[in-house]
Subunit: 228 residues, 2 copies
């Protein structure tokens, strides 16, 4: 296993579909993964269930569960996996937990489905990621990643991801750590999508993929860059 | 040749790199193509040059040149290929030329490079396509397409396009005509990207591709949807 597998990855709101799928793929890549939830009990139960799924594939898994703020305090990379409307409050609750080296990985997409359509929101005129980054201490960088990878696909361990993962952010060292981590996941190619303002592009692409899923009656539309 | 090759396609601002590349690919697909420019002489010369390039590949080509408003008046699908800042004025100049069945295909992307970076603009808070659609008579639909296909690639007839072309618009019949036309181009798969407001997504993707070209020192970053 590479050095990167020494990292502990925490998933805030990791018991939902997106978070669980990501937890599975990260555990399969050899990382120690902490699944977070509002209550430790729920997180522990979900982690055990996910661990069983990875082991059923014949792989070892380091998967544990804990309450969200505990996960934030004890992870190197902290994934934000809640629905977007809950993300800001969750970051606020985690404020005492951040360490000097904490990096937040924002996987959220600010969409709502209230009108029956996929509607992309623009909180305070910015991307969701820029909006959330402003709610962190300046010393804690936020990197956007995995926004365009369908939750359904992540959770289906029998399907190859077979696509690109776009990573963007303004803190270069943190971005490189996230890119290295992402490159250990089977079936993903990492694309450096530039500064954090490019999160807007990734959110648009994610919303387009959700619309394509509906229009073409599929479940896992995603993207690959040709020519790189 | 299919029925679609009966269409006459006009390219406003077709003497530039993007327009010329598109003209070549459309002529290769068997369409009658009119290259437009501000002066007929320049358009005629460019059309002859492009015709020679297609014929050198061993294919027949129906490629002629004319002044922009003449092209608009005598084409079934009218491509808008000028740099974005000139597009609104060009549409204004073409106002007397529109016919009952005219369809405008907007290929432009509202980017500027003044700061040395790829900067996406949001004219009047909208996508470039929505901004331009408002400058057409209500009876003339505008369909966004080809925004994410690199000009460099279109112009290089020895390279396969090998990517998706995203088409969006609000006028369903016109959109289907554009999708059918685009599907006759070798190496392209057509994706219905939804209503015209999705042009914003395509413009973001195009700007991202331009940035990837710079970052990865390549020339033709483009997209393919996986899972459709």
């Amino acid at each position: 296993m590479g050095e990167s597998s020494q990292l502990t990855l925490g998933l805030l709101g990791g018991t939902g579909k997106e978070g669980s799928g990501l937890a599975l793929r990260l555990a399969l890549a050899g990382f120690a993964v902490q699944v977070g939830s509002r209550t430790a009990d729920r997180a522990v139960a979900r982690a055990a269930e996910l661990k069983g799924m990875v082991e059923a594939m014949g792989h070892a898994a380091r998967l544990t569960g804990n309450e969200n703020t505990q996960v934030a305090a004890s992870s190197d990379l902290v994934f934000l996996n809640t629905p977007f409307p809950h993300a800001a409050a969750l970051l606020e609750a985690c404020r005492p937990a951040w360490r000097l080296e904490s990096v937040v990985v924002d996987v959220t997409v600010p969409v709502n489905f209230e009108t029956g359509k996929v509607q992309l929101e623009q909180p305070d005129g910015a991307s969701g990621s820029e909006f959330l980054a402003r709610r962190l201490p300046q010393s804690v960088p936020l990197i956007a990643a995995f926004k365009t990878i369908p939750a359904h696909l992540l959770a289906d361990l029998h399907s190859r991801l077979d696509c690109d993962v776009f990573v963007c952010g303004d803190a270069q060292t943190a971005k490189v750590r996230v890119m290295e981590m992402a490159s250990s996941i089977e079936g993903l190619r990492v694309i450096d999508a530039g500064p954090l303002r490019e999160a807007r592009t990734l959110e648009h692409m994610s919303a387009l993929a959700m619309q394509l899923n509906r229009r073409y009656k599929i479940k896992a539309a995603r993207f690959r860059v040709v020519g790189v």
